[in-house]
Amino acid sequence: MAVTTEAIGIPAPRVRRRWSDLFGPDIDGYGFILPAAIIMICLVVYPFCLAVYFSMSDAWIGAENTHFIGLENFIYILTEDDIFRQTVRNTILFAVFSVLFKVIFGIAGALLLMHVTKLKRLIRGAILIPFVAPTALTTLGWWLIFDPTYSQLNWFLQNVWPFSAMGLGPYQYLGDPNLALASVIFVNIWRGLPFFIITIFAGLMAIPPSLYEAADIDGATGSQKFWRITLPLLRPVLAVIILFSTIFTLADFNIVFVLTRGGPMNSTHLFATYSFMTGIGNREIGLGAAISLFLFPLLFIIVIIQLRLVRKDAVYELS
């Protein structure tokens, strides 16, 4: 272009550099994200960096000045801290069992919901309640259910036939280390199950009925239809909710803190409660931050898998 115009003798038009070349056509977009970005930087990004710094210092609440001590906190946690080892074990058991049961009962519940025709709204509404109700308060309700003397569960086991004849209980649900972990997992399942049921239900609705009709014509049995059609088509939905649920189960705080505060004998401590106990209870912020940071690599891996899945769009077409 320029060559030809010069050849004719007309000066080449000056190419004006526009802001839009540098920042894209919608410069006002920065204005739209500015408030969110400021809040995120000040209250998420900065605190996160601070957490990383704390984890490498001997900071404690009320200290005049803190010193950089490198990886000492991490080395201490990994080599000398028995409670931390216990915490890792608890967290793995907690996450694996609660997610596993949520998946199994979630699929079963969603399949059942598919066949519900009457009282549909009422039933679906009731099932979702644990998810919307304030966790700390409903967990206090569970606390009563698990209380050694007032436990309705023990009362039920001891006074209602056939359990009364079996001589079961009374159990110290929150007093025995193994039972306490089981109880905490149980309450976590109670709270998380609705999310699984409703999301899997939406995933089931998205499966075209024609597939089942075709299978019927071919003479497929119910279980064949489940393993060959339902489950493979649910896979993307399952992948997303399992990852989501794993993150929030790993980082769970409320249920454990309200029910057991990590006890008895640290058998229910998760990263969150242990880091709370160290950082706030013992005032050792540096050590507490280091403990909670052990969550980060786990989260990071999950987030990366998740981003890949979400990008594949298929998952989000179900709504």
């Binding site: 894209g24 056509p25 919608d26 410069i27 977009g29 920065y30 994200i33 408030p35 969110a36 809040i39 995120m40 209250l43 998420v44 990004v45 605190p47 996160f48 957490a51 704390f54 609440i61 519940g109 519900v116 709204r121 039933i123 679906r124 009731a126 979702l128 309640i129 919307v132 109700a133 304030p134 966790t135 700390a136 308060l137 409903t138 206090l140 309700g141 569970w142 009563l144 007032y150 309705q152 009362w155 999310f195 999301t199 989501f244 993150i247 929030f248 705080f253 803190f257 969150a272 709370f276 706030i280 912020i285 931050a289 909670s292 969550l295 980060f296 989260l299 987030v303 998740q306 709504s319």
Partner: protein, 312 residues
């Protein structure tokens, strides 16, 4: 199912042979296998419903019992024989902080919801529609902050709050919560609304531009009204999440009167080794009911929000 005196055309009636007018004999009733299947379905669903409602039910029942009845182990704990409001009266009259917890919770939830939804919807619109350098990166950052749990942030935030406290006294007031709750609400709202904004066809907005609308005007007059279901959903979820929040409120507020419901009930109403189950359960029930009622009215929004964004 089909009543003979209303003339219903086609669909529902056509499935079965229509009964002759006046005849009481139903031809072709529901086949027994279908009945059995239906029975099996409801028998399977029942445990789910019972399991979900069980703790709330016990909470309610216990809250209406007298202390004597709670301590009476000879009768079934699953039912209340002498209904009493004494536990609620106790909360209202004998404790001077229960109302202030309720009030704090309402104020914090309303204000944080307003902040988060307005800030988040602007960001969501930019992410869904506008093209500028760094927008993709911002989207990923929002997603990551959405998934960074409070567990990682509460310790350093103590320090940040202490620093702010030097200039503006916010420590031990609900202002701390108003500042910190948006950190988990904004990413969530942004993520949720981004999906909604994407479903609105760009052509509609384009028409507004052709007619001489500016971007902001198009956003508020065209896009926002069309994304109303999404906005309602975002408001409901933000409100619920901040009403239910526990960790930040527990860590940042020590003052008895400045606490929110879920923390106050937990830290102040459990006194010593003797548990006052009646008033404790009454407080739990009173704190749960507003959210459950809200949910009962807007159930469809909750469900759509759940499946659209996949939430905690």
């Amino acid at each position: 199912m089909s009543s003979p005196d209303i003339a219903l055309p086609a669909a529902p009636v056509a499935r079965r042979a229509a009964p002759a007018a006046g005849s009481k004999v139903r031809i072709n009733p529901t086949p027994p296998w279908q009945k059995r299947k239906r029975l099996a379905t409801y028998a399977g669903v029942l445990p789910y419903v019972a399991f979900a409602v069980f703790p709330l039910y016990l909470m309610a029942v216990t809250s209406f019992k007298t202390t004597a009845e709670i301590n009476d182990f000879s009768q079934s704990p699953f039912w209340v024989s002498g209904v009493t409001l004494s536990n609620y009266v106790y909360l209202a009259e004998k404790t001077n902080y229960f109302e202030s917890w309720m009030l704090n919770t309402i104020i914090v939830s309303v204000v944080t919801t307003l902040i988060s939804v307005s800030v988040g919807s602007l960001a969501a619109y930019a992410l869904a529609r506008l093209r500028f350098r760094g927008v993709e990166m911002f989207g990923v950052a929002v997603f990551i902050t959405y998934l960074v749990p409070q567990t990682l942030l509460f310790l350093p935030l103590v320090d940040v709050i202490n620093w702010i406290d030097q200039f503006i006294p916010i420590r031990d007031t609900y202002w701390v919560l108003i500042i910190t709750y948006p950190t988990f609400l904004i990413p969530f709202v942004t993520w949720l609304l981004m999906g909604y904004f994407r479903t609105i066809p760009y052509e509609v907005e384009e028409c507004a531009y052709v007619d001489g609308c500016g971007r902001l005007r198009a956003l508020f007059r065209i896009v926002m009204p069309m994304a109303m279901p999404g906005l309602i959903c975002a408001v409901l979820f933000s409100f619920t999440l901040s009403w239910n929040e526990f960790l930040y409120s527990l860590v940042f507020i020590q003052d008895q009167f400045a606490k929110t419901l879920s923390v106050g009930v937990f830290t102040e109403l459990i006194r010593g080794d003797i548990y006052y189950w009646g008033s404790l359960m009454a407080a739990c029930f009173a704190g749960t009911i507003p959210i459950v009622v809200l949910y009962a009215f807007f159930m469809d929004y909750y469900t759509s929000g759940l499946t659209a964004g996949a939430i905690k």
